[in-house]
């Protein structure tokens, strides 16, 4: 294996040469469908040079490298804004789960390579209209057994389901036991009869989320991933895969330097905005917060490099950085006066205040709402008691609706 810094330099160099073809400027003005096609070409190019599936085993088409390699590459890739959003869920969670639980290894290898090359896309069918933070309360039913299964119900918030070929699905296989114990995990063909996908627009204008309906969709028992009734632990294992994802102390919004440059030409009461004490306080507080989060991230990387387990404080990033992004974006818009009113839907959130601001509420909910993150910190790190849960230990079908 080559040295980490040499590998990182190679990645940096390859990404730099890819920018003219795949970067933000090259994609300006494209529709989402056109952008997706550029994304697919980028994924294929990345696969061909060996920067795809970094942590996946080589026998499945991956690179067999460490999670540190992956975090480093993802961070570099984020900095140059490559069109990878469509493949984020697809290549992160489903592939390791398939490798681990699916018995037809040759078929898995085909799927992994096709997903890494951007030829196929996978979605994650977890959340439902009545089950978001409380995932185990989901209602989509899977009935059957060894002879095959039938799925009925509805998923919601399914990212990029409109482009997906396959999905991983958690469904209720036994409503007569407590909610965590009656779930089973499957993969599903999104083109199968009875699957209906309806994209809907988010408040910021994005069309990424979908409702997915299942009407008597048939699945073979070989599509089951993990034992019957163990779906919740497979789902948790899925969510744990992304624990060391690339994090961004700016909450995927513009950095403090951008705030300073936005304000540099502005005035308040006839004086430069950057001389205003209120503005200076905001700059200082947000910079100190983000500097702290960034130090936590860098320390975690060093720990991983030294073969140690990073500390639990890495889990603070999303909670603190996105709140900072939201408030800083608000202020950046306010301070520009009428200049803060224009909105270029779909602009890059790290470079545009309005887009950053409109997208921030989604970020505070997706991948763990603030309140759930605080619960996790309190319970898993600090050992505080769980919330009172009236449905605990009660058979699912006996929980009052």
């Amino acid at each position: 294996m080559i040295a980490l810094d040499e590998w990182q330099e190679r990645a940096r160099a390859w990404l730099a040469q890819a920018v003219p073809e795949f970067g933000l400027a090259a994609r300006a003005g494209l529709t989402q469908d056109e952008d997706l096609e550029v994304g697919r070409r980028y994924m294929a190019a990345k696969y061909d040079v060996g920067f795809s599936g970094i942590t996946l085993p080589p026998e499945f088409g991956g690179q067999g490298l460490s999670r540190l390699h992956k975090v480093l590459f993802d961070t570099l890739e984020m900095q140059v804004a490559m069109p990878v959003g469509y493949f984020g869920v697809s290549t992160a969670m489903p592939l390791p789960i398939l490798i681990r639980y699916c018995e037809d290894k040759a078929w898995v290898r085909e799927r992994v390579i096709a997903a890494l090359r951007g030829e196929e896309i996978w979605c994650q069918l977890f959340s439902e209209p009545a089950a978001g933070s409380d995932l185990a309360g989901l209602r989509t039913r899977a009935e059957g057994g060894e002879q095959g299964w039938t799925v009925n119900g509805q998923k919601l918030w399914t990212t990029f389901a409109q482009y997906s070929d396959y999905g991983i699905l958690v469904a209720r296989s036994d409503p007569s036991v407590p909610k965590h114990k009656g779930l089973t995990f499957f993969w599903i063909d999104m083109k199968a009869p009875g699957v209906t996908v309806r994209p809907f627009r988010l408040a910021n204008g994005d069309i990424q989320c979908n409702e997915v309906f299942f009407d008597d969709v048939a699945m073979a028992d070989s599509q089951r991933l993990g034992p019957v009734g163990e779906g919740f632990s497979v789902a948790i294992a899925t969510l744990m895969i992304e624990r060391y994802a690339a994090s961004d102390a700016d909450g995927f919004g513009p950095p403090i330097e951008a705030f300073i440059e936005t304000l540099r030409p502005l005035t308040i009461n006839g004086r430069p905005a950057l001389e205003d004490g209120r503005v200076r306080g905001v700059i200082a507080r947000n910079h100190a917060l983000r500097q702290g989060l960034d130090s936590i991230r860098r320390r975690a990387l060093l720990a991983m490099e030294a073969g140690m387990e990073p500390g639990p404080e890495g889990s603070l990033n999303k909670l603190f950085s996105v709140r900072s992004r939201q408030k800083l974006s608000e202020l950046a818009l306010d301070l520009q006066g009428a200049g803060g009113l224009s909105y270029a839907e779909g602009a890059y959130t790290k470079a545009d205040w309005a887009t950053s601001w409109m997208g921030a509420p989604t970020m505070r909910l997706a991948g763990g709402a603030d309140e759930m993150l605080l619960n996790t910190i309190a319970e898993k790190i600090l050992g505080l008691p769980q919330d009172y849960r009236p449905d605990k230990g009660v058979p699912f079908n006996a929980i009052p609706v």
Partner: protein, 369 residues
């Protein structure tokens, strides 16, 4: 210096925690609060015995030749148990000043004694609401100091002081031997304060002899560099204190029951504690980062970040931990007010939040306030 602590550094932190944990004396700390002029001398004896006074002094001057990272770890543990007579931080300030002045006779005279803990130092920069005045009112003329510095931490038991002053309108930093004062050259007026263990006093100078360490722009730069290094140590202390409060709140919330369950099961309580955890870890990360940049580019901004986030963490923890403790939190015997008081004294001592916001933003933007 790496931001990932090595084994030696981890050992320093663990050993300091062990030593301080064993000698923790809450009754004595409470007693000191009522007595202007008394302080936690036991902590100082421990600091001298353990060699903490010499940790960041070069080996040539009988120190251990380590730096802010190691001294910061000691300060963090001291902050956790509300120890830390002011002299660890201010002794380090004096060491910085002496190392920067380049006067070998002065260095030989004072650095080994600071390293051995034989002398205690105070730092007197602030005047009025200005943590580092550009043109101090205190004057230096004919080899002596004239004027007053108010609210100097440690001043009641310090042997030497580094003082900022003006000589013919030019700023100077001078070193004064407080014990050499004769016939009214020095007045120490004790302040009965919110945190008496910090030994606050107003220092009145009436011709106290002093030696110049730096002058002009060099004096200003050195004062800011010293302030930043001391602020990083104070930030470690604040972080230790904030963490202790956060954990006390956690323990209480697990133990105390109301409405049929531990109060820590209510989100209004557990989320408050989780937020504190976040503030503590962000402050800690900034402290580690700042200490690792000692002597390098970007140190001043990193120090400001450490100071701002540690002050926020300690103040927030002081408010919220008391709130979570309910009535127990506001009793004398419950002793949480030891932290509440220390959070305030440490926040005031080395420049308040506005001062550090301006240091940071001027550094980031190039625009002064």
């Amino acid at each position: 210096m790496s931001i990932l602590h090595d084994e030696t550094q981890q050992e320093i932190a663990a050993e300091t925690a062990r030593v301080l944990g064993a000698r923790r004396d809450k009754a004595r700390l409470l007693e000191v609060l009522d007595r202007c002029g008394e302080w936690d001398e036991g902590f100082w004896r421990t600091a001298v015995e353990q060699g903490w006074t010499g940790l960041a002094v070069p080996e040539d001057f009988d120190g251990l030749g380590l730096g802010l990272t190691e001294l910061g770890l000691v300060a963090q543990e001291a902050g956790r148990v509300i120890s830390g007579a002011p002299f660890l931080t201010y002794g380090h300030g004096a060491v910085c000043a002496l190392l920067a002045c380049g006067d070998e006779a002065l260095q030989d005279a004072w650095l080994p004694r600071l390293a051995q803990g034989e002398v205690r130092a105070a730092i007197a920069f602030a005047e009025g609401t200005d943590p580092i005045p550009l043109c101090p009112q205190v004057e230096y003329r004919d080899g002596g100091l004239h004027g007053e510095k108010a609210g100097v931490a440690g001043a009641l038991a310090a042997d030497i002081a580094v003082v900022s002053a003006s000589r013919d309108g030019t700023p100077v930093l001078v070193l004064a031997d407080l014990n050499a004062a004769v016939s009214g050259q020095l007045e120490r007026t004790a302040i009965h304060s919110i945190d008496n263990g910090r030994l606050f006093a107003n220092l009145g100078f009436h011709g106290l002899p002093a030696t110049v360490l730096a002058e002009g722009d060099a004096a200003r730069d050195l004062a800011l560099e010293m302030q930043a290094q001391m602020a990083v140590l104070a930030a470690h202390e604040q972080t230790g204190g904030a963490e202790a409060l956060m954990l006390a709140a956690r323990d209480y919330a697990v133990e105390r029951k109301a409405f049929g369950q531990p109060i820590g099961a209510f989100q209004s309580v557990k989320h408050r504690i989780a937020e504190l955890y976040g503030l503590v870890e962000i402050a800690r990360a900034n402290c580690i980062h700042a200490a690792s940049l000692q002597g390098q580019a970007g140190f001043l901004e990193a120090a400001a970040c450490a100071r701002l986030s540690a002050t926020e963490a300690y103040d927030t923890a002081a408010r919220d931990a008391v709130q979570i403790h309910g009535g127990t939190g506001v009793t004398w015997e419950g002793a949480l007010h030891l932290h509440t008081r220390r959070a305030r004294s440490l926040a005031i001592e080395l420049g308040n939040g506005l001062f550090w916001e301006d240091v940071l933003v001027t550094g980031l933007t190039g625009v002064a306030a």
